[in-house]
Each structure stands twice: as structure tokens, then as C-alpha cells.
């Protein structure tokens, strides 16, 4: 019994390791875009990734055919949404001009290619909101370098 458990645990760990080997790069890229850190100095994104992978592994046996990458991305987005409000200023990355929610929408929709409906469900927003946030963010990003401090009206989060 115990031996079987140990073997199962080892198999699970192997599966998880091969999953991480394939997925961590892309997830960390997404996390770094969200935290707007430079790619070579991204402690926040790393913590975000570790936390998301931890939760994914904790639920590994209960995925029931769900794609572990989807699950990890979902955990990452949820965790960022929960914690991002504390520090919502850009840190020099590509998406620094956007607020946290706009970054989430842009990264999920355009970076990860998640469907509008799924993005809306993940963020707990109506689909129209996702569409309008995405359109506004795209406009902000493509209108050239804007003056800093141009926080969007939706991101009026009280500084902690």
C-alpha cells in the first residue's frame, strides 16, 4: 500500500516536472509581462509563477482531464488579479502604460490567445467589458509612447 503510494507520488512528480519543463518558459513570459518587469530581473514574476505552479501541483490529481497549462495560467491570472492592486505602477516593461486589469486582458487575449468569453469568466467581468478594455488598451499601446502617469479611469485604485 505504502509502496504503491510512493510509486504514484514519483510518477506524479515526473509528470509535473515534464509539464513544467514545457510550460514554465511561456508562463514566466506572461507573468513578466503582467508585472512589467524587465525579463532579466523579474523576482515578482518568478514568485507569481512558483505560486501558480504550486497550486497546479496541489490539484494535480484532481485535474480530471483538464489541461494543466490552462489550470496554471488560470492560477497565475487569479493570483495576479488578487495581489496586483498593491503595486500597480509600471516597472519599465512593454505594458507599463497599462493598469493591472488592462494588462491581464491584453496578456490573456492577445498574448495567450484566450477567447473573449473565457477571459471574461476568468476575470469575472462581462464580455463587453473585456472587449472594451482590450480595445482601449490596444489603442493606448499603439498610439505611441504616452506621457507617464496616464492611468486609465478604470484603474482608480486607492494607493495602499
Amino acid at each position: 500500500m505504502r509502496q504503491r503510494q510512493a510509486r504514484q507520488q514519483a510518477r506524479r512528480a515526473r509528470e509535473f516536472e515534464s509539464f513544467v519543463a514545457g510550460a514554465a518558459g511561456r508562463l514566466l513570459h506572461a507573468a513578466t509581462l503582467l508585472t512589467t518587469e524587465p525579463p532579466d530581473a523579474n523576482p515578482r514574476a518568478r514568485r507569481l509563477l512558483t505560486a501558480a505552479l504550486t497550486r497546479t501541483y496541489a490539484h494535480w490529481d484532481r485535474l480530471r482531464g483538464e489541461d494543466p497549462y490552462d489550470r496554471a495560467r488560470q492560477e497565475l491570472a487569479a493570483r495576479f488579479a488578487r495581489t496586483a492592486w498593491r503595486a500597480h505602477r509600471g516597472r519599465g516593461g512593454v505594458l507599463s502604460a497599462l493598469g493591472p486589469r488592462e494588462r491581464l486582458v491584453v496578456v490573456l487575449r492577445l498574448g495567450e490567445g484566450v477567447a473573449e468569453e473565457q477571459t471574461a469568466a476568468l476575470l469575472g467581468l462581462p464580455v463587453e467589458r473585456v472587449r472594451s478594455i482590450c480595445a482601449r488598451s490596444v489603442a493606448t499601446l499603439t498610439s505611441g509612447p504616452r506621457t507617464s502617469g496616464g492611468a486609465s479611469p478604470t484603474m482608480t485604485v486607492a494607493p495602499s
Binding site: Q9, A13, F16, E17, V20, A21, A24, G25, R26, L28, H29, T32, L33, P39, D40, N42, A45, R46, L49, T50, L53, T54, R55, T56, Y57, A58, H59, W60, D61, V94, L95, V106, V107, L110, G111, A135, S137, V138, A139, L141, T142
Partner: protein, 82 residues
């Protein structure tokens, strides 16, 4: 049309170089995830235990007390005038 072009531009913007994944991330997630999973399983087991114990207590109480049986009347109507 122009919206799609703009979205493509943003996609290219997002498609920058990928950061290197530090090797300790996987081991850390494995360690912490296993602990979290164990704790979760324990909590689940405990919850089931409490539910089962509650059920047993209820069944025993019901069997002893039989709350569906009407208690015998303690007062009888006054019986006079016959």
C-alpha cells in the same frame, strides 16, 4: 481591419524574448505543492469524518428519542357531569 492590424502590432510587442526560468522554480513548486496537497487531503478527510460522526450521532439520537412519536398527553380534559 485597422483594429486587427493594431492587435497584430500589440501581439508582436508581446512576443518579446522569453525570460530564463530559474531551475529552482520546479523543485520549489513540487515541494510546496505536495505539502499543500497533503494538507488539503487531510482537511477533506477531517471534514468527512465530522459529517459521518454527525450523521451517526443523529441516527442514534433519533432511534433513542423517536421524535416522530407523539408524547402521551399529560393533561386530560376534565371529566365531570356524568
Amino acid at each position: 481591419m485597422t483594429r486587427e492590424r493594431k492587435e497584430d502590432r500589440v501581439r508582436r510587442l508581446l512576443d518579446g524574448p522569453w525570460p530564463a526560468v530559474p531551475p529552482e522554480v520546479c523543485a520549489e513548486a513540487l515541494r510546496r505543492g505536495a505539502r499543500q496537497g497533503r494538507r488539503r487531503a487531510l482537511a477533506r478527510r477531517l471534514l468527512w469524518l465530522v459529517v459521518c460522526a454527525g450523521l451517526v450521532v443523529f441516527v442514534v439520537w433519533a432511534a433513542v428519542e423517536q421524535p416522530w412519536v407523539l408524547p402521551p398527553a399529560e393533561t386530560t380534559p376534565p371529566l365531570d357531569g356524568w
